[in-house]
């Protein structure tokens, strides 16, 4: 069981880096009962990096995200956030480092949007909300232009507005790592774009060194915004690289079983994937 000694070259990269990775996952495995979902997953995420996690339905994108903040209890392996193993942190301490935005907060619970956002301060609050907590909330509301619905009931908002409120709650949490579980899947084009732009803005802020891991379906949106793309396929990391390298027609065909061409956009310089048709040929992979 002495895994550490078997990996002599794992530390190779660390010495040359200016900072420790925000997230460091080694040999993570997770299963629901007998059904193995993730197997020996290892990767790390550098500061100021937006990672898009792609993969077909049910492949474990959301599962992986939830393994990083103790929602899922992993079978084996380690997850480190800012160099600290998450097992050594309480749920409250972890919430100060990692914020999570679920796909959708489906609720009929009548609570003001302001109070939802204020919940982001929960990991820091001992007995009562302080003035500085309220200041942080107010400034985030201003930043994201949520003034119009800050005092409406959360459950009466549109899907896009709700998602923005939950993103605001995550920002108020002042974490080092943001986890997004398909944050745009129920949103229209404009809102999808806006949310990702916000995430990109958070990660690009050099003063905070935050990183984000975003599970998503839209390859082209991922290509446009992500610094790195991770494709999960058959319980493993199929590739983890810059969009230009990760997104190629062979990979798309292999993972998504479609024929696709990948062209580099003249305006953004990012790869754009055009689906040409379904890949009907049975391809066995050895």
């Amino acid at each position: 069981m002495d895994d550490v000694t078997q990996r002599p070259n794992q530390r190779r990269k660390q010495s040359s880096k200016k900072q420790q990775p925000m997230i460091e996952v080694s040999d993570l495995s997770f299963s629901y009962g007998k059904n193995t979902v993730l197997e020996n997953i290892s990767f790390s995420v550098e500061p100021n990096c937006l990672v898009a996690v792609l993969g077909v339905n049910g492949t474990g994108k959301s599962t992986l995200i939830k393994c990083l903040n103790k929602i899922n209890k992993i079978d084996s392996g380690t997850v480190k956030v800012c160099g600290v193993p998450i097992d050594a942190l309480t749920i409250n301490e972890l919430a100060q480092l990692v914020a999570y935005v679920p796909q959708k907060v489906a609720t009929s619970f009548p609570i003001d949007v302001y109070d939802v956002i204020l919940l982001g301060r929960r990991p820091y609050i001992n007995w009562n909300v302080s003035e500085s907590d309220r200041k942080i909330v107010a400034s985030v509301i201003r930043e994201l232009s949520l003034e119009n619905f800050a005092f409406r009931k959360f459950h009466t908002l549109s899907g896009g507005e709700q998602q923005k409120a939950i993103v605001a709650k995550a920002i108020v949490q002042q974490p080092q790592v943001y986890l997004f579980d398909e944050p745009t899947s129920s949103l229209d084009l404009f809102n999808q774009y806006e949310i990702l732009k916000q995430i990109k803005g958070l990660v690009s802020d050099e003063s905070t060194n935050c990183s984000a891991i975003v599970a998503m379906h839209d390859i082209n949106l991922a290509s446009k915004f992500a610094d790195k793309i991770m494709i999960i396929h058959e319980s493993k990391i199929f590739c983890y690289d810059e969009p230009r390298v990760a997104l190629n027609s062979a990979a798309i065909s292999e993972v998504y079983r479609v024929n696709a061409e990948v062209v580099i956009s003249g305006t953004s310089g990012k790869p754009v994937v055009n689906i040409l048709g379904l890949d009907r040929e049975e391809k066995k992979y050895e």
Binding site: I91, T107, Q173
Partner: protein, 328 residues
């Protein structure tokens, strides 16, 4: 029994006596300090404690049908009372004292009081442990709670089967919850204990809001451990309600209904819901006890019975007149 309500005292006089302006006559003083004041305080404490526990348990288990009594406390307390009354078995001796305080002298019926308290807590702990063993979900606690309640019920019924008529009468009388038993010292003791417990419970409002808004995953990512929250709330609620039940017997309904009534009035935000539930719980028990004490005076109807008679229809009316407004 009916002594408390049959002698009349007017409000002005009472105010003067409490404020120390007017010297009470011997009888008036005795009635006020020894019977009425403890009764009113006990009604307030019992109503508030049961209602707060109910609101928190319904919130943490995500189930609108849970109440402190239904999840172990009532069945444990009944078992404790039955064991004490019928078998004479008790966790403490008749001359029990703790921290140098001779409880046996302070508290009438020491054996029943301590036995009901102890067994209520023991049963709740068994439910929590078995619930954890099955899985830490809210549903586990509820299912295990129901099973344990049935087992307890069977044991109590077996005991009742062999009980003498006198024992049976005593047990039945105990089970009719009443706020008229304890004296002022006891009530103040309960008040101090609850004064320590309430702030701890009210502090969970934030966590419950988180849980109610987005479920377990959302709670975890907000720094709230739902498993620990459930366990803590179950333990502290059980502690608070067991103390009440030990002195009053079974006062049902208020723990279930007060939070729902509060919800209909003030909404689901636990920061407001918990204090509002306490207020309504206290009011319900107070009103029920007052009416129970006066309607057939000098015969006093136990508050447990009055609560269900008065509160049941009122609760139904609220539910039906404001359909769809509640949230589990």
């Amino acid at each position: 029994m009916g002594f408390g309500s049959s002698e009349s005292l007017n409000f002005v006089k009472i105010g003067k006596i409490i404020l120390g302006i007017d010297e009470p006559t011997g009888t008036q003083s005795v009635i006020l300090l020894k019977y009425r004041l403890p009764r009113v305080l006990m009604a307030i404490f019992a109503g508030a404690a049961l209602a707060i526990a109910g609101a928190l348990m319904q919130g943490s288990l995500g189930n609108p049908l849970v109440s402190p009594l239904t999840l172990g406390v009532a069945s444990g307390a009944s078992l404790g009372a039955a064991l004490a009354i019928i078998l004479g078995f008790s966790v403490v001796g008749a001359n029990f004292s703790l921290f140098g305080l001779p409880f046996a002298e302070i508290i009438p019926n020491t054996i029943i009081v301590f036995n009901t308290f102890a067994f209520a807590l023991i049963v709740v702990f068994i439910i929590i442990k078995l619930g954890e063993f099955r899985g830490i979900s809210a549903e586990s606690y509820i299912l295990v709670g129901i099973a344990i309640t049935f087992i307890n019920g069977a044991i109590v019924q077996s005991l009742v089967y062999f009980a003498t008529p006198q024992q049976l009468a005593q047990l039945t009388h105990w089970s009719f919850g009443s706020v008229r038993r304890p004296d002022l010292e006891t009530v103040l003791f309960v008040g101090v204990v609850l004064g320590i417990v309430f702030p701890i419970l009210i502090r969970y409002s934030w966590d419950l809001n988180t849980l109610a808004l987005g479920g377990d995953d959302f709670a975890i990512s907000t720094g709230v451990d739902p498993a620990r929250l459930r366990k803590n709330i179950l333990i502290i609620s059980a502690f608070a309600t067991s103390i009440i039940v030990a002195f009053t017997g079974l006062i049902g309904f208020v723990g279930l209904a007060a939070p729902h009534i509060a919800r209909l009035i003030i909404g689901n935000d636990y920061r407001k819901l918990v204090p509002c539930s306490a207020l309504i719980g206290a009011l319900l028990v107070l009103v029920a006890d007052t009416i129970g004490g006066t309607i057939f005076a000098p015969v006093v109807l136990p508050v447990g019975i009055m609560l269900s008679i008065l509160g049941g229809p009122f609760f139904l009316y609220l539910l039906l007149s404001r359909r769809g407004a509640t949230h589990g």
